[in-house]
Amino acid sequence: MIELPLSTITLGTGFGLLLIGLWGMLVRKNIIRMVIGFSLIDTGIHMIMVSLGYIRGGTAPIIDAAVDRATALTAVVDPVPSALVLTAIVIGLGITAVMLAYAVQIHTHKKTLSIDDCTDSKW
């Protein structure tokens, strides 16, 4: 059996989470569950992002006692995806919060959380 590289596993997991999240978003009728689906998608994306920045055998890109500057170039993972993922997480959080707020308001106005009942405008 071939040994899979670490980042391939996390990558695959990320994709898997993404697909699961999509399934939740597309199939679950409850808006809250759809939001949860979205969160899963988000998490999946974050895993993928981190995986794509992984360098074989790398460690956290913090240059201190553990990793000195001389060896850093070969010892650390790409800091860029890590930075990006931080941003992405915050953005995902923001969107999730707004989604939930919408869910609350929809429930207030329509007394339901089913997405099937949210067809006020169409055509």
Partner: protein, 1045 residues
């Protein structure tokens, strides 16, 4: 300090700083927070405008670094010409939008901050050169939109907002994934860096990366059918916010697409298909829509996808040089017009199209609506017009004919639903709710002014003599400003302006244009003068009439197809609006406009094809078209024939001619119709004699002409409505001209010119007589009249002369036309057509007799006992026309000689003149001798009768001094044989005139509506379904373009 204020980065810094502070400031001083907001939003609008100015004047594009570190290690932004243009547009819209939103924003610091940050987010999307940063700005824009959507709190807005969130967050998820894969492949996030490394983006990963990136951006652009969520938001959001989404957010997404185009080369064809499909589908579905905001939503999506389509196609053609005009024009057009319309619909609080009835009671609002719709429909002088022109030319030149067709069809559909809306506004209806506040209208008015200015600028950029070519529009606008004057002074002013214009223009024209100059401007002046009989308030009538008449001048003076097309569109617009003024014209105006625009688009396509071959837009170069001659000729002819009302596309004609104001009907039929004939002349002269395919086209043209002549006459005989009868008659008469033109011989063209002049004279006369009759009788149904010869002898005389001139019976002018035309047809060897021409001219007798009999002869109704003849203002022009007809009857050479000379410059002269004798290859005609002989012969019995009756006391008898069925009839109603006069003809040949064309076009309309129904089934309103579409879109894009390796 000044330099610091001008830093483009301030667009982001100031908006954020103020945005963060506003909630705090509001706590201490709401007024201060409002003031600060206003200041900021003005600053945000002014800054990019200044930059635009500087950049246009040659400043270098700004590369903006952040963090004091050079890219690609840090994020950089760019403010070049295109960025500045888009940013300026968006910020201008948000300035006006904030003004419009007023109350909704004011007093809510949170909302104000979000609004500021929204436009900042779009600016960022436009300026940033970093792909991940682009993602951030996309998200900023998205979340700001989510926040603003919640300003209106009802179930529809909330659910729409939620769907919007789901869709956009999915889109940005895919976008983000694409960005990350790009980073993985190229090792950079900088767009320019990626372009250098684009070779790395290949293989399976590259494919996925590109498709995800494309999908992310494309979905932001709301592609059909994955765009229901966008439409729901347009429909239910507060109008000010919907406007921002429609123009601002879309602009950002569009620019994002523009930026990533170089990264996704393999996807360009797919993008074209996506944009094209969306454009067409949205416009088709729009046909079904009866709520204004959703309608604007469809239009928005269509316009944005048109922009995307144009962008990608021009990129594919490597015609980036055309982008400023095309993309800039279309963008600005969409930006201001769409936002203006959203605002207007909000300010008036009317959503259902049906509710817009009665808007005509408020001319200002109506004018605003009309101008905005005209802009949106791409009519001149608005920027969309120039952009569309340039786009069609470039695409044609690039051989993308089918895309031209798609764009034109889509634009036509869009015009249909837009102007259906306008038609509603023109219909009588309930009074308005209290007029909206000035503060709300002002931004809309500014949007209109902005559009006008932009249009002017665009015309400048095309190198036109802008003031001169746009003169009709400006003159119209100038006259609107004195619309408060009484009607007759306005009419006199119009006459003075046009007379002076004609005095300046006509003498300069030569040859054919000179002939038509006399006809169009002279005839136009005469009909305008006749219109002075009306003293009632006619709002805007003379302004539009001036525009119409000056456009004639533009048409005649056009050296390039652009100028021609421009003048043509001016004609279309002004005549449409004038037609709208008819009291009961509402049901017919839309058909008029649709067919007129279709005609215009056919012309545009024709000009485009010509340009593709000759690389020139000079009209003179039309003649240099060789390979495509038949196609160009066919398109141009189809366009002009549609406008002329040829059989099959005549369905707009009767309603329009009949329901227009009576004096304007005369203008339409007698004068405006000649513009189409002029066009036919122009196309045939340039392209009709090229042999090959052109011959086929000309042959078909002869049949079209004569079938039109025949069916026009045949349909005329069954009309009860005086003006409808005249309308069909006009249709038939134009048919003869078409057929004569088709011969492509000197004789035929002389015939066509002669027929055109003659038609102008007698049809103008007939319509003016009709105007007088309708004025007096208050009726158009002929059978409700009768015996009016006793009341209106002068009108009767006018009609008598006119119908003789029309019928072609010697000695009046009509025979000359028939003689020339039949000779030409016979010489050409078109014998069947000649037979049909004979038949058609015989059928014409039927309606002519019926008209004069039913109106003037027979039994007079009792209520008409005291009618007087038409007012002098109408009679004098009539008598003038009678005089001209008689003069030309006595000396046909006065007309034939100049026309023959003009045509001789295009073709070898075959019509030979010996004094008053004319000789064709087959026959001869001496008009002067004929009228003398006929005059003398007429004198014989006349004298005889006079002599005989001298000895008799002839007594004028009373009306009912007849014996009918052994009774003396008492009631004119039962004695005036008039209704369904030719019922036997109906029995014999009525089957020929079943309204097949109308049925066909109704079928087309119905079919497009059901297409709309079919296409919109995707819009279930279910957010989950929409999410599924988005997902399917992504995978489809991927598998369609490349798929797995």
């Amino acid at each position: 300090m000044v330099e610091a204020l001008g830093n483009p980065l301030n667009l982001i810094i100031v908006a954020l700083g103020v945005g963060f502070l506003l909630p705090l400031i509001e706590r201490s001083s709401p007024a201060l927070s409002r003031g600060l907001f206003n200041l900021t939003i003005i600053y945000q609008a002014v800054l990019p405008l200044l930059w635009l100015l500087w950049l246009v004047n040659g400043a270098a594009a700004q590369q903006i670094q952040t963090a004091g570190i050079a890219p690609p290690f840090s994020i950089n932004l760019r403010l070049g010409l295109e960025e500045a243009f888009f940013v300026a547009g968006v910020n201008l819209a948000s300035l006006l939008g904030a003004w419009y939103l007023g109350g909704l924003l004011r007093g809510r610091a949170a909302a104000m901050s979000v609004f500021l940050i929204l436009s900042m987010g779009v600016d960022g999307m436009i300026m940033t050169r970093d792909l991940f940063n682009l993602f951030i700005f996309i998200e900023i824009t998205a979340i700001a939109t989510y926040g603003l959507l919640s300003l209106e709190r009802n179930a529809a807005t909330l659910t729409a907002g939620f769907k919007y969130i789901i869709a956009t967050s999915l889109a940005s998820t895919f976008f983000l994934l694409g960005v990350m894969l790009f980073y993985y492949l190229t090792g950079t996030l900088n767009i320019d860096g990626m372009r250098e490394q684009i070779a790395q983006v290949q293989g399976p990963l590259g494919m996925v990366a590109m498709s995800l990136l494309v999908a992310g951006v494309v979905i932001e652009l709301k592609p059909y059918p994955a765009n229901g969520w966008g439409l729901d938001v347009y429909e239910s959001a507060p109008t000010g916010i919907a406007a921002m989404v429609s123009v601002g957010v879309s602009a950002g997404a569009l620019f994002a697409l523009y930026k990533i185009l170089p990264l996704i080369e393999p996807f360009l064809p797919a993008l074209v298909v996506v944009a094209g499909t969306t454009f067409l589908a949205s416009n088709i579905i729009g046909l079904k829509q009866n709520k204004v905001r959703r309608l604007l939503g469809y239009s928005s999506i269509a316009q944005v996808s048109l922009l995307a389509l144009a962008m990608v196609l021009l990129t594919q053609l490597h015609r980036e040089d055309a982008m400023p005009l095309v993309i800039g024009g279309l963008f600005l057009n969409h930006l201001l017009a769409k936002a203006g319309l959203f605002w207007l619909s909000g300010a008036l609080q009317r959503n259902a199209v049906e509710d817009w009835r009665g808007l005509r009671a408020n001319p200002l609002l109506l004018a605003i609506l009309g101008l905005l719709l005209a802009a949106l429909a791409g009519l001149p002088p608005f920027p969309g017009f120039w952009a569309k022109w340039e786009l069609v030319m470039q695409l044609s030149a690039g051989g993308m004919v089918s895309w031209v067709a798609l764009i034109l069809v889509g634009s036509l559909l869009e015009a249909v639903y837009l102007f259906r809306w306008f038609g509603r506004a023109m219909s009588p209806g309930v009074q308005l709710t209290p007029a909206p506040a000035v503060a709300q209208l002002l931004p809309i008015v500014l949007a209109v002014l902005g559009l006008l200015a932009a249009g002017h600028y665009a015309a400048d950029s095309l190198g036109l003599d802008t003031l001169w070519v746009l003169l009709p529009a400006y003159a119209g606008i100038a006259l609107v400003s004195i619309d408060g004057l009484p009607t007759r002074p306005k009419g006199l002013i119009t006459l003075a302006i046009v007379a002076y214009y004609a005095y300046r223009v006509v003498p300069v024209l030569e040859g054919l244009t000179g002939l038509f100059g006399l006809m169009l401007l002279g005839g136009g002046l005469l009909m305008t003068a006749a219109g002075l009989y009306r003293g009632d308030t006619r709002r805007g009538y003379y302004a539009l009439l001036t525009m119409l008449l000056l456009s004639f001048g533009g048409l005649l003076q056009a050296d390039t197809s652009l100028e021609f097309f421009l003048a043509w569109e001016f004609l279309t617009v002004s005549s449409y609006l004038l037609l709208c003024m008819g009291r009961d014209a509402a049901p017919y105006t839309l058909a008029y406009l649709i067919f007129s625009l279709a005609a215009a688009f056919l012309l545009l396509a024709g000009f485009g094809l010509a340009y593709a071959e000759t690389q020139s837009i000079a009209l003179a170069d039309l003649a240099n078209v060789k390979d495509g001659a038949a196609a160009v000729l066919g398109l141009l002819l189809l366009g002009f024939l549609t406008k002329a009302g040829a059989l099959g596309v005549h369905v707009w004609l009767p309603g329009a001619y009949a329901e227009a104001d009576d004096d304007f009907s005369a203008m339409l039929a007698a004068v405006l119709g000649k513009a189409a004939v002029f066009g036919l002349f122009l196309s045939v002269i340039s392209l009709g004699l090229k042999g090959g395919g052109s011959d086929v086209v000309m042959y078909l043209l002869s049949w079209i002409g004569l079938l039109t002549a025949f069916f026009g006459a045949l349909m005329a005989i069954f009309q009860e409505d005086l003006k409808k009868m005249l309308a069909y008659s006009s249709m038939g008469q134009v048919g003869y001209m078409v057929a004569a033109l088709a011969t492509g011989s000197h004789l035929g063209w002389v015939a066509a010119g002669y027929l055109a002049v003659n038609h102008l004279l007698f049809k103008g006369l007939l319509f003016l007589v009709a105007a007088g009759i309708i004025l007096r009788v208050g009726q158009r149904e002929m059978y409700k009249m009768g015996g009016l010869i006793h009341n209106m002898p002068v009108s009767f005389f006018g009609m008598l002369i006119a119908i003789i001139a029309l019928s072609g019976v010697p000695p009046l002018t009509g025979f000359g036309g028939k003689w020339l035309m039949l000779n030409a047809l016979l010489e050409k060897g078109w014998y069947w057509q000649t037979g049909l021409a004979f038949f058609a001219s015989a059928v014409a007798f039927l309606y002519l007799f019926r008209m004069i009999h039913t109106v003037f002869l027979g039994q007079r109704k009792r209520i008409h006992k005291d009618l007087r003849d038409a007012p002098l203002a109408l009679l004098i022009p009539q008598l003038l026309l009678v005089f001209v007809i008689l003069a030309l009857s006595v000396q046909p050479n006065w007309l034939v000689n100049p026309i023959a000379a003009i045509m001789a410059s295009h073709l070898p002269q075959t019509l030979v003149m010996h004094g008053s004798l004319m000789q064709s290859g087959l026959g001869y005609w001496d008009g002067f001798l004929v009228i003398n002989v006929v005059g003398a012969v007429f004198m014989v019995p006349l004298l005889m009768l006079l002599v005989l009756s001298r000895f008799m006391r002839v007594q004028r008898v009373k009306q009912f001094n007849i014996v009918f069925a052994a009774e003396r009839p008492e009631s004119p109603e039962t004695t005036h044989y008039a209704y369904d006069f030719y019922s036997f003809y109906d029995r014999a040949l009525g089957f020929l005139v079943l309204p097949r064309a109308t049925a066909f076009w109704n079928g087309v309309a119905e079919w497009s509506h059901s297409m709309g129904t079919g296409l919109r089934i995707f819009y279930t309103g279910n957010g989950q379904t929409y999410a599924l579409y988005i997902l399917l879109y992504v995978v489809t894009l991927y598998f369609a373009v490349g798929g797995p390796s």
